[in-house]
């Protein structure tokens, strides 16, 4: 049986002096191992991988070219994405300061973006232009909630997605209407078009016959009765901007009808 004496574990003072030199020599040895064994091994592996890659590249140059092109394309897309984001944010900030030129530029760009988004997400819906314009209106109505310190895209696409879904839902409830913002237009055409019922009906049947009630109402109030946009909007219980949109659309629809008729 082994017997250990307590003194056997006592540190010999001479070892303390020897310890630094021993550590130094171990350190030096490990450096040599790293230098002579590990580093050359790593270099060999790296060169082997490089060689294999070059061989693969040489065997399939078209793949390399395609990969390079895709990479360059991705980089360009990301750059364009960042550029768009920064530009839209700047334009909206300037618009919030009252710069109508910036706002016109922003809305013109966003019109295309909205249209593309709707085409991709909802397909070729037949009232796409209505949707685009409604989305632009929604952006206009919510412009005061955009904070330049926050990203522009989430703000924009939340509005667009919500408005588009809202419009699709409304359209699916009342598929026969031309306008998609008719919830407040229950007021009948006849209520606003003066005393002469015969004239009203002539107008109704011959000119405005193919228009939706809301479009008829907008045209009669502004073009026949002669109210201002503000007054007409109050009558129809909608905002002035919405009335302007409605009048423009009604005129567009009327032009289409007349061109078809002629």
């Amino acid at each position: 049986m082994l017997q250990y004496s307590a003194t056997a574990f006592d540190v010999d003072p001479s070892l303390d002096e020897a310890r630094p030199s021993a550590l130094t020599s171990v350190q030096a040895l490990s450096d040599k191992v790293l230098e002579r064994v590990v580093d050359p091994g790593n270099r060999a592996l790296a060169s082997m991988a490089d060689l294999l890659k070059r061989r693969a590249d040489a065997d399939h140059p078209e793949t390399v070219e395609a990969a390079n092109q895709a990479s360059a394309k991705n980089t360009r897309t990301l750059e364009r994405y960042a550029e768009d984001e920064a530009r839209w944010s700047r334009l909206m900030a300037e618009s919030q300061q009252g710069n109508d030129g910036s706002y016109r530029e922003l809305l013109s760009e966003l019109g295309g973006v909205v249209e593309a988004y709707l085409r991709v997400n909802f397909g070729g819906i037949d009232f796409l232009e209505d949707c685009v314009q409604e989305c632009l209106m929604a952006i206009h109505q919510g412009r005061h909630t955009y904070d330049v310190n926050r990203p522009f895209r989430p703000w924009l696409f939340t509005i667009i997605r919500h408005r588009a879904i809202d419009l699709l839902r409304k359209r699916s409830r009342s598929p026969d209407t031309t306008s998609v913002d008719d919830e407040q237009s229950n007021i009948r055409f006849e209520q606003f078009s003066g005393e002469d019922q015969a004239d009203e009906h002539t107008l109704h049947d011959e000119i405005f016959g193919g228009l939706s009630p809301s479009f008829r109402e907008a045209l009669v109030l502004t073009k026949v009765v002669g109210l201002s946009m503000r007054e007409a909007a109050d009558k129809a219980n909608i905002s002035e901007a919405a009335m302007k949109v409605r009048v423009h659309r009604a005129i567009g629809a009327l032009k289409k009808q007349l061109s078809v008729a002629s």
Binding site: G98, N99, D100, Q133, M137, T145, D147, H162
Partner: protein
């Protein structure tokens, strides 16, 4: 032909909208964060003030807060209330509700209600009638309505997309604040807290949801 008409129509619309911008001479950006904190602080101070004015707060509630379980329970309730306040006002800014905020608030809420419910079986404090208030349920409900109306009015200045959601959250948080304060002011009996302090939040939240779905969130100026 149709494309040209559409482009011209869109161009006219853009001109009209840009014309509105020119008339505005600059607009004030909706200060969601400032509204949230102002409303939250005002709501807390008002409820504490009125609650203390109606009847004294429970004796020893500060020392109760120092006990671990009750402290965690109240802290999770406070965290939920803070999360809900921020969340409510962010619903008026499109695209600003973050999943992290929703998750944190939800977890804090589950923890709070869970701990109160756990107290029914294993109370965090010794249940007692100290601080009993005769009309704590009515107080919670009455305090919540003006807060909800004020909060709704502030939300209306933003751009609310889901009225039912904004209504539900503002209704809920308007009741959670008095409920949280009532937890300190009224007697500590967990079942009483669940029925008379916390359950009104579900009721007002539901009411807010229903009202939020029907009230017009856009002002005529918008």
């Amino acid at each position: 032909m149709a494309d040209m008409t559409n482009n011209s129509s869109r161009g006219n619309l853009i001109d009209q909208l840009a014309g509105d911008i020119a008339k505005d001479h600059g607009i004030r950006v909706y200060p969601a964060a400032r509204y949230a904190w102002s409303w939250g602080i005002l709501a807390a101070l008002a409820v504490i003030g009125v609650t203390a004015w109606v009847a004294p707060l429970r004796a020893g509630f500060l020392s109760d807060l120092l006990t671990l379980r009750y402290g965690i329970e109240m802290a999770s309730g406070l965290l939920m209330a803070l999360g809900l306040i921020v969340l409510a006002f962010r619903t008026a800014v499109p695209g600003s509700v973050s999943p992290l905020l929703v998750t944190t608030t939800l977890l804090a809420g589950i923890l709070w209600v869970g701990m109160v419910a756990w107290g029914v079986f294993d109370p965090a404090l010794e249940p007692s009638m100290v601080g009993k208030r005769d009309h704590c349920l009515e107080e919670v409900l009455i305090y919540s309505f003006p807060l909800a109306v004020l909060g709704g009015a502030l939300l209306r200045r933003g751009y609310v997309l889901n009225g039912w959601l904004s209504g539900a959250i503002i209704g809920f948080v308007s009741t959670v604040i008095p409920a949280l304060i009532m937890q300190l002011a009224c007697m500590y009996v967990p079942m009483h807290a669940l029925i008379y302090h916390l359950s009104p939040a579900a009721f007002v939240g539901l009411l807010g949801c229903l009202l939020g779905a029907v009230i017009p969130w856009r002002s005529s100026r918008q």
